[in-house]
Amino acid sequence: MKAHNNSGLSPLLFFPGKEPSLQKTLTLSLLIIATLPIIVTGFISLEIMSQKMERDILDKNHAIATSIAGEVSRSLKEPLAILQHAQEMIDNEGFIPNGQKNRYLASICRTYPFFSSIRILDTKGIVRHIAPYNEDYAGIDLSSQPFFKTVSKGKKPTWSSPYIAVQTGQPTISLSYPLEKGVIVAHLTLSYLKNISDRIRIGGTGYAAMVDRNGTVIAHPETVNIAEQQNLKHLPVVALGLEGKRGTLRYTVNSVEWMGSVDIVPVTGWLVCVFQPAKEALSPLMQIRNIIFAGTATAILLAVIAALVIARNAMIPLTMLLESTVKIARGDYNHSIETESYREINTLAKNFNIMTEAVKSREKALKKDMEERRRLEEQLRQAHKMEAIGTLAGGIAHDFNNILGAVLGYAEMARFEVEGQETATYQIEQIVKAGNRARDLVKHILTFSRKGPQKRAPLEISILIKEALQLLRATIPANIEIRKSISTENTTILADATQLHQVIMNLCTNAAQSMEANEKGGMLHVELKTIDTGMKTEHHEFLLESTNPKTDNHEILPENRDIKIYNHDFVPEKVLPPELHSKPGIYVKLSISDNGAGIQPEHLEKIFDPYFTTKAVGKGSGMGLSVVMGIVKNHEGIITVESIPGKGSKFNLFFPGIPTEINRQIETVKPIEGGNEHILVVDDQEDMAETIQLLLERIGYQVTSTTSSIDALAMFRAKPSIFDLVITDQTMPDLTGGQLAREMLKIRHDLPIILCTGYSLRIDEERALAMGIGAFVMKPVDIKELDATIRKLLSE
């Protein structure tokens, strides 16, 4: 978990540059899909249209230029026709007398106001006649004027280039017509032509203009260009015309694109040019282009919005998923993702939630497993401790019992010796009393360590309980109520009545004591019932004695067979210990509960330890519950405790029940059979050996006894076949019972051997059985049991 950076933001939420981002991919794809076709078709159609439109415009402009050139041509024919007429009149000798010529010219000027003046030059270029008359011009030599030179030479009508007229200061053109003797020259102001170009307006700013053969403007909507004699030769379209070509061009001047057309006026060689700014000419095209651009822009915008919306709808849940994965990676499982997006993403989120739940429960289970394991280890340790204590206590108690036997025996003997001596008798009685107390204690210890003698027989426990409670009623305070819920059906168990009595008394006394402090008294509840954990069909019913719904904690129940301690904090009431399921069958459950002080949680684990007590000094030995535990275990039972401090405690005891049929069988056990077989009895304690010999002989057996295991082995070696069976004590000097048995079995492997022991360890017993020892009998020997064992072994 610490692998995550400390910034609080996981790097998972940022998009590193290496992989494609989903959002970008979506946006780009949509953009391309939405805009590419528009752009491509738009540009292609724009290109086709612009080419066609440009062609159309240029053709149209050229047609205009041609039509103007035609019009100019026609309008120039009028002055030409007039001069031609004048020439005829003048050249026709005598038609107009010389004295009348000025007047004649003047009449022409009046009739045709486009003539600013008309002169007749002689062959030397001297002005001979002039109208309107001006003495300054009469008689002057104009032979150097280009028009005079041209007409004199070519003898044909000639239009001049524009020049600034001296009289008017205005750009003027002249039309010269050859005479037989001289030249007639008419001057026309360029305003005559202006009318033509004035009429021509193309679009908003397009216009027509006319230039002479030098490129100088002779007609222009901006008359200042005429006055200033602007030369337009730098315009490519004019240059084209000056090369004698007609046509149209598209060109740029001062960063403005123009479309120009040029045509030539045939008579004069002047150029008619039509100019139009390309931007204006192509404005419809521009509009279409703008529409296409706007369409493309709109498409892009919509695509971007769509892409963003779609990507957002996809991305928000994905981002939530990402965030959740980060949180889950950190161990926070309480995140469920609610999405309202596309089906796939919703499914993804749903599956993700399921996955999270799975991970969560697994992790929880793992955690519980670990806790359980820790707890089991703790219990195992406790069990080992108890085992060790048991072993030690058992060993000490065994020897101490023997010693105590000697002490008491000699004390008894001594009492006889001092009969009549009051003081000594008293003292010896005290020794005997103390010895008896010690013997009781040893008995307790042996019981705890399960090494004490036990006489288990089928027992109707309900009767025992009723007897015990009757006895108890007399000893516990009256303000403590005893409530009984005692079932009597199938409550037979295999038990030692004395020990079980002791258990009930002990637990009930403890319960009563825990309620003594309560002035209002209390309630002791003793309950007995039978449960069957083997009935699978009604498993739950039997598993649970009540309808308490808190079932999900059952898995934490421990499986340790030795000690059952359930902490009230997490063990609900009335839940059966799990080993009952592992060993299904009928159990008799005895519950003893109180509403007393309860047990502190920290004490719960220790209450079964020997010498553990919370009572005041002198009030309890601390052995009670450990003895109870020993007894229950000896009965292959289970004990559990539930306690809530301040509210009370409840001890549950589970004993394996005996089926009714077996019950009957047991009830009809036959009396002692006896036999006549030859049995070898070995015990280092002479009285013990003697006692067993006597008992066996009484029921018919032929018995040889010895106190030395060495002798016994020697006897057996001498005649192995004379003994039908060997009964040997375990604890002996020189050769132990086990060693003796092993030696004997080497000689005769089918020899039935019964090993007697004051205490037993289960492992020893198992090992003994494994090495060929036929049976294992606990001391003090019960003759019935011993006989049954002998009969069983000999009959096998």
């Binding site: 290496k18 300054d136 002057i140 150097s144 600034i164």
Partner: protein, 386 residues
């Protein structure tokens, strides 16, 4: 198996994304202006009316020069924008158009073409510290002054001196009748006075000084008669080409052989076209040799003819020189400092027909020619080196 860690390249979509958007950005962004703003220069002169011959020739030449330098890439990467204004040969218009030019941001003005207009408009140039570089204004009134006026021609005094000496010494003239145009008084009167002073110093006499005004109505024949009444041995006409030609025509009507002198102002083709045989033998001083064999001049003449399909005149040459002179100056200009100082620092300039050098007052000294008309074309009679 060989295991090699390869740094993963960014996914193509991640790389494509910015590219795609830049394309769109380009598509919808207005086309960028790559060219730096042009350098504006002004031309002001009379380009309409009877005195338009000098102005149009000058405007054409400057136009040619500008077109040429722009074709060559401009000055320091900046194109030249020429703004032409017509001063209509009236002082008010001259002042107005120069103000307009300055307001439009010109860095210098080429003009005016006539002295009177230069005199009238110079205060505007001085006030705004804008160079006024005149191609053809020769008035003495503007010489010897530390101002913003520069010119590529010599002051009148030089030409009138040359003319006086030539008339007295070479032509042996002693009694001159003088006629001049008051519409360009700044030039004509000074010219006439100078001539008179020198001519009389030499021992000659100016019998009469008659004036006219080009913009007013007058009779050529009458004025010519007035001149002849004083029985001069020669006539000095100081006016534009058309007027000079017309006066010549009137004079020749009565006195075919009298020598006629003129100023350089009349030295354009209009003089020959309008004057015909009457201007044959006319004598005038000029800085222009139409038949010069100088290569720069020949190149210029070819270009000019090609561009305007007519012959260049002295005004064309001087205007072209003024333009190229200005371009040279602008080439070394940082755009901020006073152009006047740079102009003064570059006192010599290679003209089309030889070197031109400027004095500290911005007056040029250069070769002068004595020109006549012979068989309908100009011819050099004498050359006076500076």
């Amino acid at each position: 198996m060989l295991s090699k860690k390869i740094e993963p390249a960014p996914h193509f979509i991640n790389r494509l994304f910015p590219v795609f958007f830049s394309i769109f950005a380009l598509l919808f962004s207005p086309a960028c202006e790559k060219e730096p703003p042009p350098l504006k220069i002004g031309f002001s002169g009379c380009i309409t009316g009877q005195l338009a011959d000098l102005g149009i020739a000058g405007r054409n030449a400057v136009t040619l020069a500008v077109e040429e330098i722009n074709r060559a890439g401009g000055i320091n990467g900046r194109k030249i924008e020429l703004i032409v204004k017509d001063d209509a040969n009236t002082p008010e218009t001259a002042i107005r158009v120069d103000r307009e030019l300055i307001a439009e941001g010109v860095v210098a003005i080429i003009g005016h073409v006539t002295s009177s207009m230069s005199i009238a408009a110079l205060p505007v140039a001085n006030k705004n510290k804008i160079i006024m570089l005149s191609p053809t204004s020769t008035t003495n009134e503007l010489s010897g002054k530390d101002d913003y006026f520069f010119r590529v021609t010599s002051p009148d005094r030089i030409q009138s001196e040359i003319m006086a000496k030539h008339a007295f010494n070479k032509l042996n003239l002693r009694r001159v009748a003088c006629l001049y145009d008051l519409s360009n008084r700044g030039f004509t009167q000074g010219w006439a006075d100078n001539f008179r002073t020198l001519f009389e110093q030499l021992g000659g006499t100016v019998a009469v000084s008659v004036t006219f005004h080009a913009k007013e109505k007058f009779s050529y024949l009458e004025i010519a008669g007035q001149l002849m009444n004083f029985q001069p041995d020669s006539i000095l006409i100081i006016s534009g080409a058309l007027h000079t030609a017309m006066f010549c025509q009137q004079i020749r009507k009565t006195t075919p052989d009298i020598p006629i002198l003129s100023s350089g102002w009349a030295g354009t083709n209009e003089l020959i076209h309008q004057g015909g045989s009457s201007v044959e033998g006319i004598i005038f001083p000029q800085v222009f040799n139409q038949n010069s064999r100088h290569l720069p001049y020949l190149t210029f003449r070819e270009s000019y003819r090609e561009r305007f399909m007519i012959e260049p005149n002295f005004a064309s040459m001087c205007s072209y020189e003024a333009a190229t002179f200005l371009f040279n100056i602008l080439d070394g200009w940082d755009g901020k400092s006073d152009l006047k100082q740079i102009l003064l620092d570059h006192s010599t300039h290679q003209g089309l027909q030889g070197e031109i050098s400027l004095d500290k007052y911005g007056d040029a000294s250069r070769s002068q020619f004595i020109v006549t008309v012979n068989d309908g074309s100009f011819a050099i009679v004498d050359t006076i080196m500076p």
